[in-house]
């Protein structure tokens, strides 16, 4: 059986307090923490998903709070292969912000990035709270921009795994791309040396370019 592992850099985007970290916590640990404090000290979280004949290793980057004052660094979404743009179904402002992030990703991120639009906190509606972002409105945005679309509840766990499976499937459908492995080599400098073209090197095309671009 083929056990190839593809590493995927996935970034989280969305207004503060829409539940970005909670979605990840649910996905990675099947856990939920009420009034969760922003994560401290984790460079990124990883979680493997079996996709039949191969495994996808999600390397999930949190904003580390840098979105709070609009101070996310371009480095954050550089070379991301997938992004979750999260909003809160009870907060229209967070959906406006989500539109902004989709636009930003199309302008700044890699051209073939897979984006999932995620309306979170569905449990509030199920418990009688008022929905403020219509499902149709979000579906329209997803359709126009070519996004995957999910409504989730990190609190109940509803639909959370489906988000990552959906991204995994879409990635599996794409022609095999060089396995990025940003999580490797945590103990030292990663050197992309032209003379030893490293197949695990994150930016395959660039390490090959050195051989003859003169």
């Amino acid at each position: 059986m083929n056990t190839s592992v593809t590493s995927i850099k996935l970034v989280l985007l969305g207004e503060a307090a829409v539940g970005k970290s909670s979605i990840v916590l649910r996905f990675v640990s099947n856990d939920f923490a009420e009034n969760k404090e922003p994560t401290i000290g984790a460079a990124f979280l990883t979680q493997r998903v079996n996709m039949g004949d191969h495994t996808i290793k999600f390397e999930i980057w949190d904003t580390a709070g840098q979105e709070r004052f609009a101070s996310l660094a371009p480095m954050y979404y550089r070379n991301a292969q997938a992004a979750l743009v999260v909003y809160d179904v009870t907060k229209p402002q967070s959906f406006i912000k989500a539109r902004h992030w989709v636009k930003e990703l199309h302008e700044q991120a890699s051209r073939d990035i897979i984006i999932a639009l995620v309306g979170n906190k569905l449990d509030i509606i199920e418990n009688g709270g008022e929905r403020k972002v219509a499902r149709e409105e979000a579906e329209n945005l997803a359709q126009q921009e070519g996004l995957l679309f999910f409504e989730t509840s990190a609190k109940s766990g509803s639909n959370v795994n489906e988000v990552f499976l959906g991204i995994g499937q879409k990635i599996s459908l794409k022609p095999a791309q060089n396995a990025q492995d940003g999580g490797q080599g945590s103990s030292g400098l990663r050197i992309n040396d032209d003379s030893r073209i490293d197949l695990r090197a994150p930016y395959g095309q660039s390490s090959a370019a050195g051989s003859c671009n003169c």
């Binding site: 990883t46 949190d62 954050y76």
Partner: protein
């Protein structure tokens, strides 16, 4: 917002971002502010359109730029050119803080030196020294003996010192002992020890010795040259350390000018007021642009010319990246001219282009002419952006008012003086020296 912090950091240049990251990891509550809307301050990497805005009088449209030079966003041009020494302090800080997780590095393909009208590869070990056309047959033997002395030197074994005392003998005396000639001294002092002028000759040999060891050990790390360079440019470095700081709880606010600095009756720093409100902290760390009145000129000005080429630099074996040093004595100057060359293999230019950043310390009132010897070596230049930067340093240590200021980025080709500044500020702020230790593994979730 009205919040209390342990440290406020102003400016997101590399020095400030490293300090912010280190202090956050130490458990300090850090607020990091930049008046500009992007990371990096003076040490940012910018797109071509930003270079036009910054350096050219007449506006050039983005369309026009892209027709000529390809996609604007493929460009990431360093405002201050430098390389990392593979075995230098910045490399160590990157590894110990795990910021390497966010940045990929490549080797710089070659280290070259200008000598009598020609460009030569800098011999970096005994083998290369023996085959280098830089030296005649007898000089090669002398150079070999010099390198052997460096390699075998042990502090506590007097026999390996060969009668030399690093703290008493000057470097010139060391050269004399090995019988090395003027042009060999030139490339040892300038392209291996990386001194920018000849003052070192009359100083005790120890610091030159240490610099040569750093050079040789850096070459030995990965082979081709002693230098490393991050993909997407040096601007990735401050961003990486800012992320480290944020991950450990640091708060980031870009695009936030400081409206007022607050001091107590004792003259000590108390906080800053911005559009977000007042933030208080007993200590501030900042780059010189935030407290010009507390800085003075070092008396040095650096001219930097960013040149866009469509070909590799001639006579460098079509290398995709190069450090080229023109020693001062070769062109009748007091300070060396540096040329840093990068290409699309480091993802800093659109395909098929090369960047050559030429810099030196200004000696005359016609600084652009001082760079001519370097321009001549580059072949045809498609576009050129020139700027002059005055170098500043703090007037005081910061002990009196708790305002700790960094120094401007100097003209050296690497980050060693910058990391000295980081360690020095760290010591002054915390009262204890910076000890690099590995971050605990439990932070790094992996199944």
């Amino acid at each position: 917002m009205d919040e209390e912090y342990d440290v406020i950091v102003l400016g997101t240049g590399l020095t400030e971002c490293i300090l912010s990251g280190l202090l956050s990891v130490d458990g300090k509550k850090v607020l990091h502010i930049d008046k500009q809307d992007h990371y990096g301050g003076e040490s940012a990497s910018v797109a071509l359109s930003q270079l036009y805005q910054k350096f050219k009088q007449n506006p050039v449209s983005k369309d026009e730029i892209e027709t000529k030079f390809g996609r604007d966003r493929d460009w990431s041009v360093d405002l201050i050119p430098k390389f990392l020494m593979a075995d230098g302090e910045l490399t160590k800080i990157l590894v110990h803080t795990d910021v390497t997780r966010y940045i990929d590095f490549k080797q710089v393909a070659g280290s070259y030196v200008y000598n009598k009208g020609k460009i030569y590869k800098v011999p970096a070990n005994e083998l290369e020294a023996i085959s280098s056309p830089l030296m005649g047959i007898f000089e090669k033997r002398r150079m070999k003996r010099f390198l052997e002395w460096i390699g075998e030197y042990q502090e506590d074994n007097l026999r390996t010192h060969q009668g030399l005392d690093l703290d008493k003998n000057t470097m010139d005396e060391v050269y004399y002992k090995f019988g090395l000639g003027a042009s060999t001294k030139d490339f040892i002092g300038h392209s291996m020890a990386l001194w920018t002028n000849d003052d070192y000759l009359q100083q005790p040999a120890r610091s030159s010795f240490e610099r040569i060891v750093l050079y040789l050990q850096s070459v030995a790390r990965y082979g081709k040259s002693p230098y490393l360079y991050p993909l997407y440019g040096l601007g990735e470095l401050p961003q990486g350390f800012a992320r480290l700081s944020a991950i450990y709880g640091g708060t980031y606010m870009l695009n936030t000018p400081v409206e007022k600095v607050l001091y107590g009756e004792d003259g000590k720093f108390e906080g800053v007021t911005t559009k977000e409100g007042t933030a208080r902290a007993p200590v501030v760390i900042a780059d010189p642009t935030y407290f010009p009145e507390k800085c003075k000129s070092t008396g040095q000005k650096v001219i930097r010319a960013i040149c866009v080429l469509k070909h590799p630099v001639p006579n460098t074996g079509n290398a995709d990246s190069v450090q080229l040093i023109i020693p001062q004595s070769q062109v009748g100057r007091q300070n060396d001219i540096y040329v840093a060359v990068m290409s699309d293999s480091h993802n800093v230019v659109a395909k098929g282009h090369y960047l050559a950043i030429v810099s030196t310390i200004i000696e005359t009132d016609k600084p652009h002419i001082e760079l001519e010897p370097a321009f001549k070596l580059l072949g045809s230049i498609e576009e050129r952006f020139m700027g002059i930067a005055e170098l500043f340093e703090p007037k005081e240590s910061g002990a009196a008012d708790n305002v700790y200021l960094s120094r401007s980025y100097d003209s050296s080709s690497h980050f060693e003086s910058m990391t000295d500044d980081v360690k020095d500020i760290y010591f002054r702020v915390t009262g204890h020296p910076l000890v690099l230790k590995k971050r605990s593994q439990e932070d790094e979730e992996d199944e």
